[in-house]
Symmetry: C2
Subunit: 493 residues, 2 copies
């Protein structure tokens, strides 16, 4: 392990984050909300520690696989450590574990909160909270479409060939190309959403914060009542549209902007995503209608559609307390929680492409019983999927269940009831936000014991980094074995 | 599809079941409990319909794969249809759907009941209820160690080579050998348990019924309070030992009786099974101690151990209302529910061997991230596992999740709450018996809506037949395509 390379890159990360912290500081001075000292101190720590590391260590020309995993995992862990400081220094979240939970929830675009009342935060802190989502979302797009495909994690190799840009395997040019193209899309969509939300009646501040949280499929709102607090059909529908866009693979947006509309819409994963989202909306609508949840069918469709897409895309915004809905609607929502967004989006969860490949794989297995000798390849969008990608995806499912069950056992060990315990794990592991019971949409994570909060923070980062990245750190071989892998990354600039 | 063969074999099944129904009829006459007419009528129907089919159709010389699946699936479906008649004719269970639920719960060795009070049944009906378990268990041993390995279902191919007896691929001699050897073990263990339970104070009737339910990992008791109704430490510990034995692969018992003790105990699946069972006991013991559930540690160990093994082996006997235990103990029990017994036992669930292979597979996938080019085979007991077995097992997990989630959505659609809904599916799909909430150990399935009961009945048979067998019937290709598979079964005698 070349720790110099790792420390240097992480140093740069902290340094830039330190600089970014000056934005909410400026905002604090502008609003005169008194939080500027907290931001200044945090920024100073980021710039000093980060700058110190960045200038003390020089990255190698080559970055190996193993360094790559370490950098990815530590990026989120350290970003949250620094990002938690403004909450902590301002005294608004007096316990650092809580502040860390909130910051990790931001950077992982989860949206679970330990705040009983969001409004106790100053405007600049609310902005920082939304900004952590947006920055985390940027990180995730690059991670899932440029870094994980090269590292070969959890079937993301699938997207190796799909990436825009000329270089497919050398990481640094790849990251640069991807960042330029996809962040462009990300910024553009965010701007459009801000404008539309303002047209629908939000002020610039709220519109920006909500657009950040939507595009990152995060879910932090500037109100405790979340999007429901605005009680505006226009706002609800605008956010629904942008949640749907944020849960889509960003290369699709890029292709559509290039004019390749028809080809992009033929994407099998996209079709499943739309089918599941609107199918779930219909199922929840019928359930709500059957149990007389809403008198007005227009209101019913609005709340059902919002909640279905909010949960499916793992955004987690709320316009209704779905914990009071009929059991079937809740079961559907929990199923959506597991599924999550499309791969290459800012959404979390298992991802539709994996579910699709599971289904195809299972169908092949069933068919094999009839024709034991037949060999059938699994195809996606007409292309054969290599065996090792299928296996990587199946391994992901297995790991996912193991992590989920273990985390639930530990969380319930702290005395949390079984519904709260299991859905809090699902809500964090899939980067959604709210769960059911004690962590339902009208509640928050404040009252959970600290052991549970630490486990759930781990769940957020493990889920966000597609499990393998974090699991790897617990394999002794990763640390011991110094043999060099064959695939190489090029040096960063 | 050669339907003549299928009808003939199913005819024989019903015919023999008709004959077996004369046993509880005799018992009814002996106890003068008035149920003999119900048994006589049921027996008559079985003998007439079954005999009619058996003598009208002649089986082919060869039985193909596809006929095999059909026979297996219809065996349980028809056995329950006939087995439900005594409950229905006697008027003790006046609704046929309920009676069918109870009979399917018996033959699938599930042990879920729709009876609010078991004691309303006459002695002969209680005996029939226990007997359906025992017969179902016999069926399962043959199914999992002789039939499914040849059909190649869900990784059970693993046990193709392990079977005692000279013939490994030809089904009829294989079934005969397996039946002779393993049923010998099954009967022997049942007899020993009956004797021990009588020594511990049960009368012959109760001892027989409980031994039937234990060896089949079924869980029907002759008391509503289940085994807890006897309040005897000796009975509890005897049943614990026999539950552990019943949840083990029966070839291990056979090998141990042959004197190959050391080799048998080196079995990796057995080690995991013991580790999980006693590990869970310890975890539940600690939780119960921490939350002050029991004052007396001896009582705590007794109840914790009983419940851990009862659930892990999918027996489902109760000595304590674990729904009132601390959340962590319940989470552990739900995890045990999913795991189930060893393959080749009468237990249900995913089976330890599959969990073991999942874990090994996932470990290989994680290691691949460090050495992408390395090829590592998955080994079990020192032997390499063929790729197609691993895939078959991974497909099983995927199918399992899909069925579980779909069933939970449908059950909660009927208005059942989410804990009751999800655990009722887990309890039936894994052939356990009780779940949590409305179907907790102190409650029963009586109050569920009929739609839910039908879905759960389907779950029982789907889970029991390792999902693939039932899933196959829903694949159009299975019905359309008449090409002959390569592997052949020999004719039945």
């Amino acid at each position: 392990m070349r720790s110099g390379t790792i420390l240097s890159i992480l140093g740069w990360l902290l340094f830039f984050l330190g600089l970014i912290l000056l934005i909410p500081m400026g905002l604090s001075l502008f609003y005169q909300d008194g939080s500027w000292v907290a931001f200044l101190a945090s920024s100073g720590i980021g710039i000093l520690v980060g700058g110190g590391l960045a200038f003390s260590f020089r990255p190698d020309q080559e970055i190996g696989h193993r360094e790559g995993f370490c950098i990815v995992a530590l990026s989120w862990i350290l970003a949250a450590a620094l990002g938690a400081l403004p909450y902590f220094f301002s005294g608004k979240i007096p316990n650092y574990i809580d502040a860390y939970f909130e910051a990790m929830s931001g950077f992982t675009t989860t949206g679970s909160t330990i705040l009983e009342e969001v409004e106790i935060l100053t405007k600049s802190l609310l902005f920082w909270r939304a900004l952590t989502h947006w920055l985390g979302g940027m990180g995730i797009i690059i991670l899932s479409l440029a870094i994980l495909p090269v590292l070969g994690v959890g079937g993301m190799q699938l997207f190796k060939a799909e990436m825009p840009g000329p270089t497919k395997d050398r990481l640094a040019p790849r990251i640069q190309d991807t960042a330029r193209i996809l962040w462009g899309v990300y910024v553009l969509l965010t701007l459009i959403e801000v404008l539309l939300l303002m047209l629908a009646g939000m002020d610039l501040f709220d519109a920006t914060c909500h657009a950040f949280a939507t595009m990152a499929t995060g879910g932090f709102s500037t109100k405790t009542a979340s999007v429901g607090g605005y009680n505006s059909a226009a706002i609800d529908y605008i956010i629904i549209v942008f949640m749907i866009l944020a849960g889509m693979n960003f290369t699709i947006h890029f292709r559509i902007l290039q004019g390749k509309v028809v080809r992009s819409l033929k994407n099998e994963e996209l079709r499943l995503y739309m089918l599941v989202g609107f199918g779930a909306t219909a199922l929840i609508f019928i359930t709500n209608w059957w149990y007389g949840q809403y008198d007005d069918p227009l209101q019913n469709i609005r709340y059902s559609m919002f909640q279905a897409w909010s949960i499916l895309t793992t955004t987690g915004f709320g316009t209704a307390d779905f914990d009071t809905w009929a059991p079937c609607a809740k079961t559907v929502l929990v199923t959506l929680m597991l599924l999550g967004g499309m791969a290459g989006s800012t959404g979390g969860g298992i991802k539709h492409v994996r579910a699709l490949i599971f289904m195809k794989f299972t169908r092949v297995q069933i068919k094999k019983l009839i024709h034991p000798m037949a060999v059938e390849a699994i195809k996606l969008d007409g292309k054969k999927i290599p065996q090792d990608v299928v296996q990587s995806i199946l391994g992901f499912l297995s790991l996912y269940m193991a992590v989920g069950i273990t985390a639930t056992i530990v969380v319930t060990l702290t005395g949390v009831d079984i519904v709260t315990g299991s859905t809090s794990v699902i809500a964090t592991l899939n980067n959604i936000g709210p769960g059911l019971g004690g962590v339902g949409p009208a509640k928050n994570f404040a009252d959970l014991p600290y052991v549970a909060k630490v486990v759930l923070t781990l769940c957020m980062v493990a889920g966000r980094l597609e499990l393998y990245t974090i699991a790897l750190l617990f394999v002794p071989e990763y640390w011991k074995d110094m043999r060099r892998p064959k695939t190489r990354w090029s040096s960063l600039p």
